[in-house]
Amino acid sequence: MNFRRTKAVAYKEVLHILRDSRSLYMALAIPLLLLLLFGYALSLDVDRVPTLILDQDRTESSRALVEQMAGSRYFRLLAPAESYRDIERSLDRNQALLGVVIPANFSADLRANRTAKVQILADGSDSNTANIAIGYAESLIALYSAEVQTKARERIGAPEITGIDPRIRVIFNSDLKSRNYIVPGLIAVILMMVSSVLTSLCVAREWESGTMEQLLSTPLRPAEFLIGKLAAYFAVGMIDMVIAIVTGLWLFDVPLRGSPILLVVSAAIFCFGALCWGIMLSTVTRNQVLAYQLSMLTSFLPAFLLSGFIYSLENMPQMIQLVSRTVPARYLVTILKGVFLKGIGPSLLIGELAALVLYSVLIFIYAQNKMRQKVA
């Protein structure tokens, strides 16, 4: 291991990066773009559900229910439907998400102390949104039902009975903003994607343009070559990380409750591992298109889907949960969410940190071995 040779490779790579300024801008702009998208545009929070009401009863009680829905900020009532056909049509055309049918005998049932039914028809295509929307509708109806019962009880003079009041308190992300949990996880996705895509090209390019042979004829050793290349891109990765953290903190007001040092150190370890991953792919494939596609497939998708970034791992089948243990982004996402939102320290995150270090070291050794084989 010779420091001077490593530095020379790093210097050459920095020149490459600076010369191709457009790729550099892109590498810095993509994180910003993703953050802005997730911060401002993308949200899984559901409110103002477009709702179509078919009131076949048209009495005071049914209108009271409609009024309650109209007053709730969770629903946006469309022009009332005239028939079932209307509901069907607007669900088909994605104009409405919910259809609520108040049947003709609604108020008659209530007056007769019977159970009145309200039909909720939901477009289940997007099961998540549908679940939440149905939940809103059902709790609104439950509330209405309770009101009706109280009135009836007063009428017949049944005794007043006290209930249990569920007091809900949300901790860690008390205003339940999806942004607060998306932005920390997004840092992991960005680092994984940008780092591994950037380096996935850098060795394959040398092979494709035929300069690899020239490098091989120099006394340069595989480890020196790799570390040199890594050093240059590590700088880009770190800038990306800073951009992501600063944007998250200042633009989106995501609270940072834990230690910033822990945050930076764990992100740096992870970034190193992701860069090694890209270099490994590049060494193995020797083909830029192939390396790029492989790195997109193996970095972006798992980091996005199997890291617990948005989709919680606990709901996945056992097999997939096992697979997710091999996804490094999973550990960083846990660390980031812990540090940002919960403010926990390294003692609770020691397992995740160890996993990250192990992953980075293993991939580096593997990449170096592959390099040596190719050289031989």
Partner: protein, 383 residues
């Protein structure tokens, strides 16, 4: 002319398919995406884990606990004696919520005073949190309702012992039906969208790379001195990828049906036709990227830069209706949005052109606009 185009097509197909690993790359991503989205991605909350912190130890607390144990949405994973202990479970993400029954709970209920239960929810994932919170509140409310009913019966029966009255109070119950996806599985929603993703990513990358590679290696000059004309070159460079894209649509559709049993309820012909329109859009974009890039690295970074917002703003996993209005407008020029609506309409709802004509029309207009613009730019570059 056709002969020259055919030659290029043949060369491109050979170049793309000659490497076995590259051939695998055309079919591995769809399979992997399908498996992940089909089996893994699940936004549904079931079996939320709760920590039970019973500070009361009375009969009412035990009954409430039984109500939580009995509900399918909750699993009580631990009992905590102290606040700190309970909090620790949330810190380690080992539980989603803490249910805390305060000390005077049973006494309050016995004396007919209002009692309260505290539900502490981990809000880290806001989406899960709101579902968990509302479900927990529902369990508590159901418990209250049940208790009220027994109490009322006891009181009324006590008043008229010889003539037990069944008390009847009016109530309203919701009857819920979810259409198109009755068991509300996320899988059915995601799988049709994968078709859109795969085609976009593959055709976009392959087209832009195919042209930029010639520039980077320097074979573009050689191509220019041959009698081939620009439009012939464009056709030759795009037709093979259009074909690959169509094959992938068929492949993913069959996979969806066979592995996940998701039927194609709409017309296969319409799916083929709209896929073609969509492919025209993405080929046009690929061509555009190739006109602004000189190296493959630039082409890839540009692809990434263009693909990400198109993907995120397509409604694939984030509903467009949730976006701010201005962003919603911007999705009207996103071909992925329209094709996403079309595939979902075809797979889930089984609707036809009578509903999907606006999306189809939009795709056609966008496709020819993008392709036309890119071809013009490409011409200028070559001259």
């Amino acid at each position: 002319m056709w002969q020259r185009i055919l030659e290029i097509v043949r060369k491109e197909l050979k170049q793309t398919l000659r490497e076995p690993r590259m051939r695998a790359m055309l079919f591995a991503p769809p399979i992997i995406q399908m498996l992940i989205f089909g089996f893994a991605v699940n936004l549904d909350v079931e079996n939320a884990k709760v920590v039970w912190a019973d500070m009361d130890q009375g009969w009412a607390a035990r009954e409430l606990r039984a109500a939580f144990d009995g509900s399918p949405q909750f699993t009580v994973v631990a009992n905590a004696q102290t606040e700190a202990e309970a909090q620790n479970y949330l810190d380690r993400s080992e539980a989603d919520a803490i249910i805390r029954v305060p000390p005077a709970f049973t006494k309050d209920l016995d004396r007919g005073r209002a009692a309260e239960v505290q539900i502490l929810v981990d809000g880290t994932n806001s989406n899960t949190a709101s579902l968990v919170a509302s479900q927990a509140a529902q369990v508590v409310n159901r418990f209250t309702q049940d208790r009220l009913r027994t109490l009322q019966r006891q009181k009324l029966v006590g008043r008229a012992v010889d003539r037990p009255i069944a008390i009847r109070l009016p109530r309203v119950v919701p009857e819920t039906h979810a259409w198109f996806n009755p068991d509300l599985r996320s899988r059915r929603y995601f799988v049709p969208g994968i078709i859109v993703n795969i085609i976009m990513l593959v055709t976009l990358t392959l087209t832009s790379m195919a042209i930029v590679r010639e520039k980077e290696i320097g074979t573009m000059e050689q191509l220019m001195v041959t009698p081939i004309r620009p439009y012939e070159l464009i056709l030759g460079k795009t037709l093979p990828f259009a074909a690959i894209g169509l094959v992938q649509v068929a492949f993913v559709t069959v996979l969806a049906m066979v592995i996940f049993g998701i039927p194609l309820r709409g017309s296969p012909l319409l799916l083929g036709f709209t896929s073609l329109l969509f492919i025209i859009c993405s080929l046009g974009l690929g061509l555009f990227i190739s006109t602004i890039s000189n190296t493959q690295q630039q082409a890839m970074m540009s692809t990434l830069f263009i693909f990400q917002p198109l993907f995120m703003l397509s409604g694939f996993s984030f509903p467009i209706a949730n976006m701010p209005t201005v962003i919603q407008w911007s999705t009207y020029i996103n071909p992925m949005r329209y094709f996403m609506e079309i595939t979902r309409g075809l797979f889930l709802k089984g609707v036809g052109l009578e509903v999907l004509w606006p999306q189809t029309l939009a795709l056609a207009v966008l496709g020819f606009a993008i392709l036309g613009f890119s071809v013009l730019r490409f011409h200028k570059r070559l001259d």
